[in-house]
Symmetry: C2
Subunit: 399 residues, 2 copies
């Protein structure tokens, strides 16, 4: 186990009806004289009454706020810049993100960009420059998936350059997050499945590690994965199953608050490879991960069969094969079968990538997004991947 320092102060307000606390919590964390940015996507929060609940709660308490809607999946730098201008103009001191991971990620990027001392927001992302200050962010979650509600991370797409970059700073961990599984009842099947795939990948990126003596976090990862795998299919059958949503909502949050990754060298190659797919084809992140992850597992398998066999046994309970390789292969097959059960795509074509004409471009971008000198910065740690490796993985993901 490696040394680590960890603190996760986000106040997690979980359960039925908890959105009723949004006014009280905002007042407590933002202060009486704050001006709040209410940030959201579009009609989704209006349809479920959450927009009205939030706006009424803020008005009742006399909390000043300005609104910025229009966040789309794979949230855009352009809207972030608009948010930064708006917040500076109105002297916003608190951001309330009401929505899914894209809304929260957009809110975090705005929060990171308001103080001019931090410099240009995209430069901050590219250079992974630490923040001097950040405006506090709070969330009311409507889609369990990205774990952004308790993470210090955000991912933003710059449409102009075609890059999609992740960024993290502890100042961006939300001060509170309201997670009410009832708010997930109207999600369509594909969003349920994409969210489940995303949270599973947040665990995979931590679980697949060579750091020795991490039994405690290995066990936590395996246990949360098993809970997800048992409960997610119930939601496709009955999207109003509160109990299954509670398991999935809880899992999605702890999948990415980094407790499960403490003391471990983490991987993150699949996220990196997927970001380039969704940057080019604007596919859902979770769907892209379901396509990339098994291909990545097949690619790394020769040198990594022991850990993949552990995964197969402890997460999917597959029978132990003749050797690790065989057990691991059965585990990958079990993962693909699970994705199929969730009606997730498992090939590039099913994902909506029509052909392989842009694979080389995406593979290059995956290793050049942060490069200053044109030298490739490999993705991943469990197995370091250069553009040639990534290209092979994209091709493996074709079938």
């Amino acid at each position: 186990m490696e040394n680590f320092t960890y603190s996760c102060p986000t106040r997690w307000v979980f359960g039925r009806g908890t959105q009723a606390q949004v006014g009280e919590l905002t007042e407590r964390f933002a202060g009486k004289n704050a001006t709040v940015l209410l940030h959201f996507g579009g009609n989704a929060i209006k349809r479920i009454g959450l927009y009205d609940t939030t706006v009424s709660a803020l008005r009742e308490r006399g909390i000043r706020f300005v609104e910025l809607s229009g966040v789309v999946p794979n949230p855009r730098l352009e809207l972030v810049r608009e948010g930064i201008r708006l917040c500076r103009e109105h002297k916003v001191s608190f951001i309330l993100a009401v929505g899914g991971g894209s809304v929260i990620d957009s809110a975090k990027a705005i929060a990171a960009g308001i103080d001019a001392e931090n410099g240009d927001i995209w430069e901050t992302f590219v250079a992974r420059r630490p923040l001097k200050t950040a405006v506090p962010v709070a969330t009311v979650l409507t889609i369990p998936a990205t774990g952004s509600e308790m993470s210090p991370n955000t991912v933003i797409t710059d449409e102009a350059s075609g890059y999609k970059l992740g960024y993290g700073d502890e100042k961006l961990r939300p001060v509170f997050s309201i997670v009410n599984p009832e708010l997930f009842f109207t999600l369509p099947p594909n969003q349920i499945a994409n969210g489940v795939s995303d949270m599973m990948s947040h665990i995979f990126e931590r679980y697949f590690s060579d750091t020795p003596h991490c039994e405690i976090t290995d066990g936590l990862c395996e246990s949360v994965l098993k809970t997800i795998i048992r409960n997610a299919p119930k939601l496709l059958a009955d999207p109003q199953n509160y109990d299954a949503w509670a398991e999935i909502g809880f899992a999605g949050t702890i999948a990415h608050n980094n407790l499960l990754g403490l003391g471990r060298v983490q991987d993150w190659a699949c996220h990196g490879m997927e970001h380039e797919i969704s940057a080019v084809y604007d596919v859902a992140h979770g769907a892209g991960l379901a396509v990339v992850t098994p291909a990545w597992m097949k690619f790394i398998l020769p040198g990594k069969s022991a850990k993949l066999a552990q995964f197969a046994k402890n997460v999917f309970g597959v029978p132990v094969g003749k050797n690790d390789l065989e057990t691991a292969q059965a585990g990958i097959a079990a993962l693909v079968a699970f994705y199929k059960k969730m009606a997730l795509p498992t090939t590039m074509r099913e994902l909506g990538v029509p052909d392989n004409s842009r694979f080389e471009e995406m593979a290059k971008k995956a290793v050049l997004g942060r490069s200053r000198d044109g030298n490739e910065i490999p993705q991943g740690n469990f197995r370091k991947l250069f553009s040639g490796d990534i290209l092979k993985i994209y091709h493996l993901a074709e079938k």
Copy 2:
């Protein structure tokens, strides 16, 4: 799953050599002009050089501090009162607890008692009165056991009345805790075993619950218990096994920061019953728990075999018996066998309780410690226990 609100801001500084950060962290969290109370037990921290490290670090940074040593296992109200007087006299604004759970618990009680607005400290404990303010507490941990390094809880013994009471307030969660497994290398076998027993019980008290649909926390509990059970015996064989200590140190902290108990009605009867034994006989808490817990399991078994069978299967991997009762019994036997392997006592006599002459008195105290009207306040939730039940459990623990 029940609704919950949770926040755990304690900065967890984990790993080799991390005590070197104590000066920097104290300065950051206490502020430059603080007066710090350095609270500890006795020679143990001097023997391992931790006293010198800490004192030098504070002096180097010019941090004013006063010292109060003398904390003993089952920490005493009398020393708490002395600490409160000392802190008021020196206007202490930060408490650094260097030691095991007893030192940290004593520090928390002092922190809770300094502000006269909070009222008398023992009255606060008895009435479970919330704190108006608390002086911040930080810790350098020397024994992984109580989880006090990341919990809001403390347990104090009033020798005058013979009561031992627990208390919790979120303001008592340490602001930082340094957990370096190397500091555990010189612990004697009985302290290793007592600590392991205590952290396991912190999980049992949360795990044994009737709250339905808590698969996620059931899984987390089972996974951490398995890690403890696999690694603890390695420490008896080699107390300088860093890797095993890292697993146990990590486990002990998350066993009691309440992540594993979120959304669940928790039990805590075994802790309550043990507190009365150690209040009377001054035995080690972890040792007492190893005696009480199997007796409690046997007592509740008739109505609770399903959960106990789940425990048997998922934690100890015992073969499934003819029915839940049989599986559960095998699980209790496996737990007793594990305690024996750790050289823990499993009977009252082995614990050092010479006879049953004070069982009735202890059983009464276990349900009257907080009673205002002489009516019994039962212990536990998974199964509510009145003094008659507790008496039976104490007798079951005789053999």
